[in-house]
Subunit: 221 residues, 2 copies
DNA sequence: GTCTATACTACGATAGAC
DNA sequence: GTCTATCGTAGTATAGAC
């Protein structure tokens, strides 16, 4: 059984274990837990099936190690900005709004980046039917960012009650999430085969404009 | 091979074929194409797996029949309103905005409804890695509604250029889609175990408010 | 039309050589 | 630590009885 999941969490996984995780994320993202096969994962990693047993105990152990690795990857995307916000609390609503837009743009650009596909697919599956893997990812990266965002929205839109602010946060997340999760629809609506960089910029610009509108205390009835 | 996919499309499938499709959507939604097993689908339908060969030719034939059925179901949700809009074109921007909000609320309520889970999961998988099944669903239900929505947005926000209007449509769709696709996040952010009807109403109300804001020609910089 | 029986392939897990 | 070999189970597809 070796050191198991702790290895993956501390990003000190052996080269082979890391290769297995990489290949496993591809397979799990594409085919789901049941559909992925340990044989194929091992083959793609240039090793054999027994290595999975050795390093992760079982197919499920490998799956959880993937979740930890993904949490680490997504965390790395948000951590610098998130940390900066925590160390430099917004002085006023204007600053808070700027922070929120930056958080959202950060997230949207990640959703648009090619390398987020396999990570997002993995997480998307977990969203539909959460397992232990979702708990780990949520606790590690989603909860902290959501907390920060909620705090900022409270400053930016003080006239909204708590629940309405929570809904507003989900509205904004949805606008970014759709870029990855409904990618096939997005590219069709944007009338492109694949989302090129010009289209991506238009999407980010539009998202910023929409988010700015929603996060401004306008003359809302 | 029998009549194959045409049966499913015309919703005149035999009772057994319909039971197979129902059970198959559950299995495909939960485990994906590879993960689902024809044995289990047949068992859940109270028959044996040779019936699948007979009615649909193969596992893939069954999968496509599920896609057709799903397109039919989702189409039924939108068709009455969609048809009404086509027959009664909006007289002014105000009417167009009312239509758009109604379309969006319609969609959001569907995303929140329990029975949309298996259908959405099936479609979500296809969005990530589209196959022939996605083409069928897109052509049948998504394309018409998107066309209508784009036409309405052109009336409602004439100052935006074509591409910005397309982005805006995706923004709005994202706000509704997230209710189902990131359900695990939504329930945590809304601080409920499951999304009860009161929470659902708050989500719909917030979505309407946000969409109304985005669809108004405000003092946007 | 629906069933049983079966051919063939692939799965995850484990034992044991090195 | 990584390998080969193997066990028991489950997968799809097909042939043929009724």
């Amino acid at each position: 059984m070796a050191a198991m999941a702790t290895l993956a969490e501390s990003s000190q996984a052996s080269p082979l274990a890391q290769r297995l995780i990489d290949a496993a994320i591809d397979q799990f993202a594409e085919a789901g837990f049941a559909g992925a096969s340990t044989r194929q994962i091992a083959r793609a990693s240039g090793t054999n099936m027994s290595s999975i047993t050795y390093h992760f105990g079982s197919k499920e152990g490998l799956y959880l190690a993937c979740a930890d690795y993904i949490a680490e990857q997504i965390g790395a995307v948000h951590q610098p900005l998130h940390e900066h916000i925590r160390r430099n609390p917004p002085a006023d609503a204007e600053a808070a709004r700027t922070y929120l837009l930056a958080l959202l743009e950060n997230f949207a650009r990640f959703m648009l980046a090619p390398h987020s596909q396999r990570l997002s697919q993995f997480v998307a599956r977990e969203q539909q039917r959460p397992t232990e893997a979702f708990e780990r990812i949520y606790a590690r990266v989603m909860a902290p960012v959501l907390d920060t965002a909620l705090g900022l929205v409270a400053i930016v839109r003080p006239s909204l009650d708590e629940r309405a602010r929570r809904v507003l946060v989900m509205n904004c997340i949805g606008m970014a999430l759709v870029l990855r999760i409904a990618r096939a629809c997005v590219s069709r609506v944007m009338q492109v085969e694949d989302i090129d960089s010009a289209t991506a910029e238009a999407l980010v610009a539009g998202l910023r404009r929409s988010a700015l509108t929603l996060l401004s205390e306008g003359p809302n009835p």
